[in-house]
């Protein structure tokens, strides 16, 4: 079982693509989804995003993400249904009505968020975090400090989750009933554990900073990276494709 944003090894086209190309593609794709309100076009983009997920064997993880995004977008969709009185009148409300337009707006929002999220999410699962940070430093000239900060943040997520699990197991062994009751009970029990977790994480980040410094963090320049990240034909095709989609999205608005 892989953790959050943890690289899944593979050899698919998406795995082999240039990290910068992947990142640009995903970001532009997400922006593109917000450039149009055409539900058919968005549905097509959603299917395309799912096809990308299938192409690198990430369907299971993608379905998990889709569920999370769906819950979030459902809240927005319900708000939209009650607040956009357009189209044919279906149900009367004290402050307006629910129309076919409201339903369409809700569906569009769900499709848009789902479609926008999938490629971004895939980028992090099919790219090693170090490749991503090294390539944005090399190709996009992002200062190494920022790239390292981001990469370390993601790197420490599983470490801290492990710590939390350890603390919880230790408490369970001493009779705290984490395994009983619902989510509310669990959260109530977890709140006091945040202090030891915070203390241990501050200590860990401090020693990580020292460890990075004694291995020459301050000497690193843009040229330090050993791996090269050249653009191949498929990277350029992907970027041209996403720009074409962007143009189509704006035209179909």
């Amino acid at each position: 079982m892989n953790g959050f944003l943890e690289y899944v090894p593979g050899t698919s086209l998406l795995h082999r693509m240039n990290p910068v190309a992947k990142l640009l593609f995903a970001v532009l794709f997400a922006i593109m989804c917000f450039c149009t309100s055409n539900p058919i076009f968005l549905a097509a983009m959603f299917v395309f995003a799912l096809a990308l997920a299938a192409s690198c064997g990430m369907m299971r993880q993608t379905l998990g993400l889709m569920k999370a995004v769906f819950v979030f977008s459902l809240i927005l969709a319900i708000l939209l249904i009650f607040t956009t009185p357009t189209g044919d009148r279906l149900v009367d409300l004290p402050w307006g009505y629910i129309g076919t337009g409201s339903i369409m707006a809700a569906i569009t929002t769900i499709l848009r968020l789902e479609a926008a999220a999938i490629p971004l999410f895939l980028t992090f699962y099919v790219t090693k975090m170090s490749d991503l940070s090294n390539s944005v430093v090399k190709v996009l000239h992002v200062p190494y400090k920022y790239a390292f900060t981001f990469a370390s943040t993601v790197h420490f997520i599983p470490v801290f989750m492990n710590d939390m699990k350890g603390i919880m197991e230790a408490q369970t062994a001493r009779g705290v009933e984490f395994d009983q009751g619902g989510i509310v009970n669990k959260i109530q029990l977890m709140v006091p554990l945040c202090v030891p977790l915070l203390v241990s994480s501050v200590r860990k980040t401090n020693s990580a900073a020292i460890a990075a410094e004694v291995r020459g963090f301050n000497l690193r320049t843009r040229e330090s990276g050993y791996k090269q990240y050249p653009f191949a034909a498929h990277d350029i095709i992907a970027l041209v494709l996403v720009i074409a989609l962007m143009v189509a999205a704006i035209l179909l608005h």
């Binding site: 953790g3 943890e6 690289y7 090894p9 090693k128 975090m129 170090s130 990469a151 370390s152 993601v154 790197h155 599983p158 470490v159 200590r203 860990k204 980040t205 020693s207 990580a208 020292i210 460890a211 990075a212 410094e213 004694v214 291995r215 020459g216 963090f217 301050n218 000497l219 690193r220 330090s224 990276g225 050993y226 791996k227």
Partner: protein
């Protein structure tokens, strides 16, 4: 290579000095083992030798620490760490990347090792540590012992003049611990690397180190060859340092006047000494003897 003169250090958050009036001189190419009871100031001593004190932990610093002619107070931590490669106690926080290969590359890239040399160095260090097959693995999926080997390999690849390891075998099984010490001894011999190891497994230290430093309550209690230090097994026990059981046995025999030879550092030496006294032939089970000597190290 390392000169410590009248060194006393008090962490800012405490009032008592953690290490007091330390004088220690480590020649180039020496293999030095540091041991002592928990909380005796061993780690603080290593922080002083790799520049983390005074650069990262604030406090009152008296005396001087000189590494390869550079005073650590006047040299930046980055410059000190180009001479001293350190493996810290907390492995999880020492690892800065997610993949074994990237972890190996990190220091090499930063210290500007020529790119055509990098691949060979990575390969050599991984092979030396016996983890060449882990090169593409995600670090989070490794066991504690494997992570420890990755951390050591990533420092070995840098080929520093001084290797400073704080409990490098804490998570390793006896066989791997022995392997790490053999490797360190080889680096000291072949590359003239100065090796400083803080370690609880005194049997391993006394087998490989040229010099054994026993720290007690922030001061150096003994600093001599392993044989000379182990001769004081009763005093060592008082300050919380267990000698190998074979050493203790032979020391007792010599206290009772039954044995007059040199101090025995492991089962093999004790066995041979006893056979000599009893007039028997040399130890018949060499393989067995070697295995128990590392096991007694793990127990001690």
């Amino acid at each position: 290579m390392i000169e410590i003169k009248n060194f006393t250090f008090t962490y800012r958050e405490s009032t008592e000095p953690v290490v007091k009036d330390i004088n220690l001189s480590i020649p180039a190419g020496a293999f030095v083992g540091i041991t002592g009871a928990a909380g005796s100031g061993k780690s603080t001593l290593t922080y002083a030798m790799n520049g983390i004190i005074p650069h990262c932990y604030p406090g009152d610093f008296y005396g001087s620490v000189t590494i390869d002619g550079h005073d650590t107070c006047e040299t930046s931590l980055t410059d000190v760490s180009q001479i001293v490669g350190s493996v810290c106690q907390d492995i999880d926080s020492q690892i800065v990347t997610s993949i074994v290969e990237d972890e190996m590359l990190y220091g090499l890239e930063n210290f500007d090792i020529p790119h055509e040399e990098i691949d060979a160095r990575v390969e050599e260090a991984l092979t030396d540590m016996g983890i060449a097959d882990l090169r593409d693995r995600v670090i989070a999926s490794l066991s504690g012992g494997q992570k420890q080997k990755v951390a050591i390999a990533s420092i070995l690849a840098l080929k520093p003049k001084v290797l400073m390891l704080d409990e490098p075998t804490a998570e390793l099984d006896p066989a791997s611990s022995l392997q790490v010490f053999q490797l360190l001894a080889r680096y000291a011999r072949e590359h003239g690397t100065t090796v400083v190891v803080v370690e609880q497994k005194i049997a391993l230290l006394s087998q490989f180190a040229d010099m054994l430093v026993i720290v007690d309550h922030g001061t150096i209690r003994f600093c001599d060859t392993p044989s000379n230090v182990l001769a004081h097994s009763d005093e060592l026990l008082e300050i919380g340092v267990n000698c190998p059981r074979s050493t203790t046995l032979m020391n007792r025999l010599s206290a009772d006047g039954l044995y007059t030879g040199p101090v025995c550092r492991n089962v093999e030496e004790a066995c041979n000494a006893l056979l000599e006294i009893l007039g028997g032939s040399p130890a018949p089970f060499a393989g067995f003897v070697e295995r128990t000597s590392t096991e007694s190290g793990a127990i001690a």
